[in-house]
């Protein structure tokens, strides 16, 4: 007996238990008695945690006032942060000159926007601006020269110093890391050994020991009289440290490329550096961007370690503030604020890197 369907079955809505708020809750919160208990317990915990936090940070917090006396201490006393905001942002950078830092931020933001967005077709000029012109501008803008008053690096501090540390280190670490990664894959045993030795040594030891080395030993290594200031020494340490990690990230990207790419480049007559620069590195770096961003997040968090060698970055300025005898007892506010600032930066970047990774993945499948 043959059965032939001539009409299409009408589309029916799914049963109520699968849709709507009730269906969603049934599936995601109360699917079994165990799940129901779990939901109740965690709702209780979450409610108390959120309530306690809001109570501390907003409901009972002090926002108005100018001194420690305005703190009622029922909740957070944000007056402290408000009063010190200038220092937290710029350290001891003279107040009259702080506009220079802001101009630097704006110029940098423009550069980053042009490089990351698709407003400009060719990425060449934005990249030249961001990686060559902008650093030079920043040097004169922040330090001084061309009629701008000199501001010694010992006066730099706060979030400004944190950003300087992170961006200068990544700026040095990326090219150095690329060279180390290429060296590690070189066919020359001596070159390979030097690179592997450097990378593995640095990755085995904690950043602090590298920073100690830069701050205590660098002066010993140089001829008498020649010396860098403290910030430069910290930058040397941070850059070398992140270069080793960057090298491993780039190596991962290089390894992910099929061998055929290099062979095709060679068979067209391109030399080693041409093949690397035109074919291999653009692709390897592109697939490593998410990992590069992650390394940068790590580096950004690690800048806080300069506190230990006596620089006044964001964390350090706040810590000093909490120990000021006029503002005692506000450590929680201070650290929660610093944590929030770092969190916003790092969480933002990590979301960006996840988004990029997904985009790259779908791009490949195409």
């Amino acid at each position: 007996m043959a059965i032939v369907r001539t009409e299409r079955h009408p589309e029916l809505p799914p049963p109520v238990t699968q849709t709507g708020v009730i269906g969603w809750m049934r599936q995601n919160l109360f699917s079994s008695w165990f799940n129901t208990i779990l939901t109740i317990v965690s709702a209780y915990v979450a409610y108390h945690a959120i309530y306690a936090f809001l109570d501390f940070a907003i409901i009972n917090a002090n926002f108005a006032g100018t001194s420690r006396d305005d703190c009622t201490l029922d909740g957070a006393c944000w007056v402290f942060i408000k009063q010190r905001f200038g220092q937290i942002m710029y350290g001891f950078y003279p107040e009259a000159e702080r506009w220079r830092v802001d101009v630097g931020y704006v110029l940098g933001a423009i550069g980053i926007f042009l490089v990351l967005s698709n407003v400009v077709k060719s990425k060449k000029w934005p990249a030249v601006y961001l990686f060559i012109v902008y650093p030079v501008i920043c040097y004169f803008l922040f330090y001084g020269g061309f009629g701008l008053e000199v501001v010694e690096t010992s006066q730099w501090g706060g979030l400004f110093l944190t950003l300087v540390l992170a961006s200068v280190s990544i700026f040095v670490a990326l090219p150095l890391g690329i060279i180390l990664a290429l060296g590690r894959r070189s066919e020359m045993p001596v070159v390979r050994m030097v690179c592997v030795g450097f990378i593995e040594l640095i990755r085995a030891v904690p950043l602090i020991s590298v920073l100690f080395m830069a701050s205590v030993m660098l002066p010993l290594f140089l001829p008498e009289g020649q010396n860098f200031d403290k910030l430069v020494r910290a930058l040397v340490g941070m850059s070398l440290f992140s270069a080793a990690y960057m090298a491993e990230v780039v190596r991962g990207g290089l390894q992910a490329l099929p061998k055929g790419q290099m062979e095709a480049a060679k068979s067209l007559g391109l030399g080693y550096w041409q093949s690397m620069g035109l074919i291999i590195l653009p692709q390897a770096l592109k697939i490593s961007i998410p990992s590069i961003v992650n390394t940068f997040i790590g580096l950004f968090k690690d800048t806080t370690l300069v506190l230990i060698i006596g620089l006044f970055d964001l964390l350090s300025v706040v810590k000093a503030g909490t120990q000021d005898k006029d503002w005692l007892g506000l450590a929680t506010e201070g650290y929660v604020f610093v944590a929030a600032v770092f969190w916003v930066f790092c969480f933002g970047m990590s979301r960006y890197s996840i988004w990029l990774e997904n985009k790259l993945h779908t791009g490949h499948k195409r």
Binding site: V194, M217, A331
Partner: protein
């Protein structure tokens, strides 16, 4: 088949400048020479600088008296008047290992718990776990450590207003106090019983494997193991007539004496490291379990294997393969991060040896070299383990 071709013999001689092998050799010699020149330059400057500053060199300082006090000393005797910088190094190493190992244990527990919660079907549980992970991973460890130390632990009530559990456990801004165990005659049997329990468990698990292979009968290895490892020491204690007593912390007005105390420096570092690293481990666990495809679960279900056995025999072994390599590198990170103790005054190797000893002797090179050597050794041990593990996995996969 040969045809005479013009220029056949001409190419045989290669100008040395155009031979890549010669070039490579030349370049490598250049690298070595530059490297040696660099080392010589540095060494020369350093020697001159050290002489000018009147700083000694060599490792004699290790046997010189240190002359400073150390906050936390475990397992060894230390006395500022008689002990040496060598002792300081030893204590630094012990303290580093102590906080790292205990941190690793707690971080692993936290990581696995939150990693599994992060995979829960329960929306609320899932969200709570992901908030934990995202908060903890995106705040610098040093900020967290300072928070725990300066904003939480040091802000606890003072000795007089200690928070107490019963009369013998107290928590205040000097630490967590609890009774110590004082061994009496016959105490030795308890650790021995513990060791015997572990060894016996290993044998039982081998025997059980073999028996299951041969007869198909499973054996409850895990509960038997627990029984042996915990039960034997208890039996030993009972047999020897409970050969220990307790010393209770005596609460004075401003001070507490006797008993055991966990200092806030240790606690802050221990908590901070575990909570921070736990967030990273949770992510590793989550992606490890996710990496074992749903297909595997479905295949197991379709074979009629029960869910908990599927988890134990199919999902977990495969997920562990993905999890263990990044997990060990987190352990290494935790150990390296314990050096942040410098900022909160816990006496580990960087704080007391690369800090105080260095300030006193000025022998930066030797001290930093020894410190780095210590970390290098640890990471070498971990990478030897990783190689062993990877080769074992490779064998299994064949």
């Amino acid at each position: 088949m040969t045809a005479d071709v013009p220029g056949m013999s001409e190419g045989a001689k290669v100008s040395p400048f155009r031979d890549p092998k010669v070039r490579a050799l030349f370049f490598q010699i250049l690298v070595i020479v530059t490297f040696l020149a660099f080392v010589y330059y540095i060494a020369d400057n350093t020697i001159t600088n050290l002489e000018k500053r009147g700083i000694a060199s060599g490792f004699d300082f290790l046997s010189q008296n240190s002359g400073f006090d150390i906050g936390i000393v475990l397992f060894v005797d230390y006395n500022a008047q008689t002990s040496t910088h060598g002792d300081v190094l030893l204590i630094g190493i012990i303290n580093t290992l102590a906080v790292s190992l205990s941190g690793i244990v707690l971080a692993t527990i936290i990581g696995f718990v939150f990693g599994v919660l992060r995979l829960s079907n329960n929306w609320l549980v899932n969200k709570i776990a992901s908030v934990y992970i995202e908060v903890v991973r995106n705040i610098p460890l040093l900020v967290q450590l300072l928070f725990w130390y300066l904003a939480v632990l040091l802000e606890l009530p003072n000795v007089r207003e200690s928070a107490k559990i019963g009369e013998s456990i107290a928590l205040n801004n000097r630490g967590l106090y609890f009774p110590s165990i004082v061994p009496e005659a016959g105490f030795w049997l308890i650790p021995v019983a513990f060791a015997v329990g572990i060894i016996a468990t290993i044998f039982v698990s081998r025997w059980a494997h073999k028996r299951q292979d041969e007869t198909g009968q499973p054996f409850p290895v895990i509960s038997t193991g627990f029984g042996l490892i915990l039960g034997l020491p208890i039996v030993a204690a009972l047999v020897m007539g409970l050969p220990f007593g307790f010393e209770y912390p005596a609460m004075g007005r401003f001070n507490i004496s006797g008993g055991w105390v966990v200092k806030p420096e240790f606690m802050a570092l221990f908590l901070g490291l575990s909570i921070y690293t736990g967030g990273f481990i949770a992510e590793i666990v989550r992606s490890g379990i996710n990496a074992v495809s749903h297909g595997q679960t479905e295949a197991a279900n379709s074979l009629g294997i029960k869910p908990n056995i599927t988890m134990r025999l199919i999902i977990i072994p495969q997920a562990l393969r993905v999890i263990i390599p990044p997990l060990t590198s987190q352990y290494l990170n935790l150990t390296k991060n314990s050096s942040l103790a410098t900022a909160i005054g816990y006496s580990e190797i960087v704080a007391i040896f690369a800090g105080t000893s260095l300030n006193q002797t000025g022998q930066a090179i030797e001290i930093i070299a020894l410190t780095m050597l210590f970390y290098l050794t640890i990471s070498l041990i971990i990478s030897v383990f990783m190689n062993w593990y990877n080769s074992r996995i490779a064998l299994v996969e064949r």
